[in-house]
């Protein structure tokens, strides 16, 4: 709780860089599992992608729920059932094997009524739709990467793209491992997850840019340390956002499971839920780690890191940047608050030794 409390108060409470390695391992394992499952088991593509068999049953008065119960017993619960002109049941199932389709037909005749038509149907989501969507996605990746490179920097574009790809692989992986049926709605859910993850990552990057802009010039902190500060400052936002996005989805999941026949909704909700949390996770642990490790290679940050380690401060946990330093640029603008009244403030682990570098120049106060 104290960690969360610290986050709530915006104090640097979590040592993110220490978790990066573990996160990297966990993510790699998860991605590998996802890819392996995708390769071995593939995806359970639904009626819309692969086509299937449609049955028309003359059964006036039979409700969709009754028909669904029959289909569930036949192990084809994800069949799409419609009432046609008020008297026919149109049942479409992704069953492709003619023998199995005939079996289903026989059961339908026995339980519901005469089957009037019975035929194979093609996909409504044809290959061309998929091709177009895939092409659009590739273009999307390139353009958004360019956009991020332009507005932020190219290293961040790399980080964001890796994070988004990671999220997509994990979400698709969940579908593959659990063999949930993929519907057009699922594809939409994946796209939503992508946008969501991207949003989250950009917020993190924008924060680190702001903080680097403020504190970078002091050359007292390595990029990783600044990244850690940024992450701690956006973590609460990330958590809050995930929670607010997840609440409706969880409610969909719980209520969906109470109501029969909402299997599609449930699977959909699971995909979204996984996506929401993975999206937040990847921006806090993956996108940031990647950018930090890329930036640490830059000459500027290497020099800073050398300086810091020369002072023998680089060992042990990531140094935490105290609030006082973090607000350094505002030192003239607003008097710093004394810690009276608040909980004991974490002292900065490094006293600002003014021996070497010049003290940071306070920024011009912004016009109100």
């Amino acid at each position: 709780m104290s960690t969360l409390g610290g986050l709530y108060r915006g104090e640097s409470a979590v040592d993110f860089p220490r978790l990066w390695r573990r996160a990297l391992i966990a993510s790699t394992v998860a991605v590998l599992i996802g890819l392996a499952s995708f390769g071995v088991r593939g995806l359970n593509l639904g009626l819309d992608f692969e086509g299937g068999t449609s049955f028309e049953v003359r059964a006036p008065g039979t409700s969709v729920a009754d028909a669904r119960r029959v289909m569930e017993r036949l192990d084809a619960a994800d069949a799409r059932i419609q009432i046609v002109d008020g008297e026919l049941l149109l049942i479409r199932s992704d069953v492709e094997d003619p023998a199995r389709a005939a079996e289903i037909r026989d059961v339908l005749v026995a339980e519901l009524g005469p089957v009037e038509a019975f035929e194979q149907v093609g996909p409504t989501w044809g290959d061309e739709v998929t091709d177009k969507a895939v092409r659009a996605l590739l273009v999307f990746f390139v353009v958004v990467a360019l956009y991020i490179a332009m507005r932020l920097e190219w290293k961040m574009a790399v980080g964001a793209m890796v994070a988004v790809a990671h999220d997509i692989v994990l979400s698709v992986g969940v579908y593959s491992v659990l063999q949930f049926e993929i519907t057009p709605a699922t594809v939409i859910a994946f796209l939503t997850i992508m946008g969501y993850s991207l949003y989250d990552t950009i917020v993190v990057y924008d924060k680190v840019r702001e903080i680097v802009g403020r504190l970078g010039a002091t050359e007292r902190y390595t990029y990783t340390e600044l990244m850690n500060l940024s992450l701690n400052r956006v973590a609460m936002r990330s958590i809050n956002t995930s929670v607010t996005s997840a609440i409706p989805v969880v409610s969909l999941l719980l209520i969906g499971s109470l109501v029969m026949g909402a299997a599609t909704l449930q699977e959909f909700a699971v995909a979204l839920l996984v996506g929401i949390f993975v999206g937040s996770y990847s921006s806090l642990f993956l996108a940031s780690a990647l950018v930090a490790s890329l930036k640490e290679r830059e000459e500027r940050w290497r020099l800073v890191a050398d300086k810091v380690s020369a002072r023998g401060l680089a060992d042990g946990p990531t140094r935490v940047i105290g609030r006082q330093e973090a607000a350094v640029s505002d030192s003239r603008a607003a008097p710093l608050r004394s810690p009276t009244g608040g909980p004991a403030k974490r002292r900065p682990t490094i006293a600002p030794t003014t021996a070497g570098g010049a003290p940071p120049r306070p920024r011009k106060k912004k016009k109100r």
């Binding site: 419609q82 929670v243 109100r368």
Partner: protein
Amino acid sequence: MPRRQLVFLIGIVALTVAASVMTVVWRNEPLLGLDLQGGVSVRLAAVGPADEEMLDQAVEIIRDRVDGLGVAEPEISRTETGVMVSLPGVDDQERALSLVGTTAELRFRPVCRMYTDRGASRLASGTAPAAPASCQAVATGGVVPAVGPAGLTLPEDDRPEDFVVLGLRGDPTGQRYLLGPSLLTGEAVSDADALFIDYQWQVGLELHEGQVGIDGFNAIAALCFSGTPACPRPDGATNGRLAIVLDGQVVTAPSIRAPEFRRDAILISGGFEKLEADDVSLALRYGALPVELEPENIRLVSATIGEDSLRAGVVAGLIGLLLVAVFIVGYYRILGMVALASLAISGALLWSIIAHLGTQSGLALTLAGVTGMVVAIGVSVDSNVVYFEHLKEDVRDGRTARSSVDRAFPIAYSTIVKADMASLIGAGLLWYLTVGAVRGFALYLGLATILDLVATYFFMGPMIRLLSTTRWFAEHPERFGLPASGAVPAPAGSLRRAGA
């Protein structure tokens, strides 16, 4: 400054109210998708033999036709003997049929003769031409085109290898075209667009490579340009004409002004209005189905998602929304309420737009769309949270709550714009490059993102700035979910920090 904020606030609230009132007055309602409310299902059977590939092609073309805007989300699939098209919420079955559209082949026929006829001509049963077909054969009476009572060839006699007499589409004046056998079909067309060139609307035509394409077309162009018997010059003209025929009607019959064309540089001019040019290019683009289809039956179908599921979804969504509201207000207090109001504004605007497009352009709201909106709520809340957390941050850094409000908004808004731009780029690309459900999603994503930016900039920001000018704000920061500011000589009660 406060004056501008006030103008923004009043403006956006007025806009929202106006949009909501309009929606109610115009009885705009969102068009629910097939999965949510059902619709009409048209079953088309292929006339003559058709393999899977041809039917798949037909599915693509019908999708383009039905889905002009690309967001109606029809369900189109191949069946064993034809194609099944389901459209959301079309009550009028005739309209459904006309939407599914004409199924005839687009043909290029040379014009033998043009004349006006008031239906006084003799009926003729027609005779097959002897190859090679030449207009002279008709002129000399060697071949008689089959015509019905109106002096026009009837649809059942409209065979590609015959001479026919057809009228001009949408033209009641009795203009008649005596046309030679079809020389090329719509399969040759790769693309067509209405273009505004040389101060007039024209149709740019692009053909495929090869014999069923530019080569075939150039062979005809050579015939017509020089006015050979297969494609003679009308009286007094320098070039012969080539008619583009769809569904037993001449779409347009331009004269051929060059003996040879480049594949992607064919322009049809004809004093078109923009609408006419659009129409012609549409017919050229989607006119040709590889197989002729006949409607077999039209039926009403119910929603694919059971009513129980739908109800569960709605209840879940409402409960979820309520919980989000409780969470946000619990966490950010009055700021949270502002966030909710901002959400209500963007929600009401989104609803108005969806209802308008649903009524006007057949935009369908499917389960995927609803989900997109639920997630959009998450993102909208996010924009607020970005700002609020920034505010808190600044207050903790020692600023007064009031100065933080002024300072944090531009910074937070710039973050929001950056993040939203990524979404907008994504939405735009998906809109342009995809079809079907993905396209619908892109529209919702784009709309929700823009409205998020609008509500944040014109409502949430100004509202909080206005609130920040009150004494109340300075005295009770904790009521706004903010930590007590050290810079303000705070009353004793507010020294207790939230969460401590």
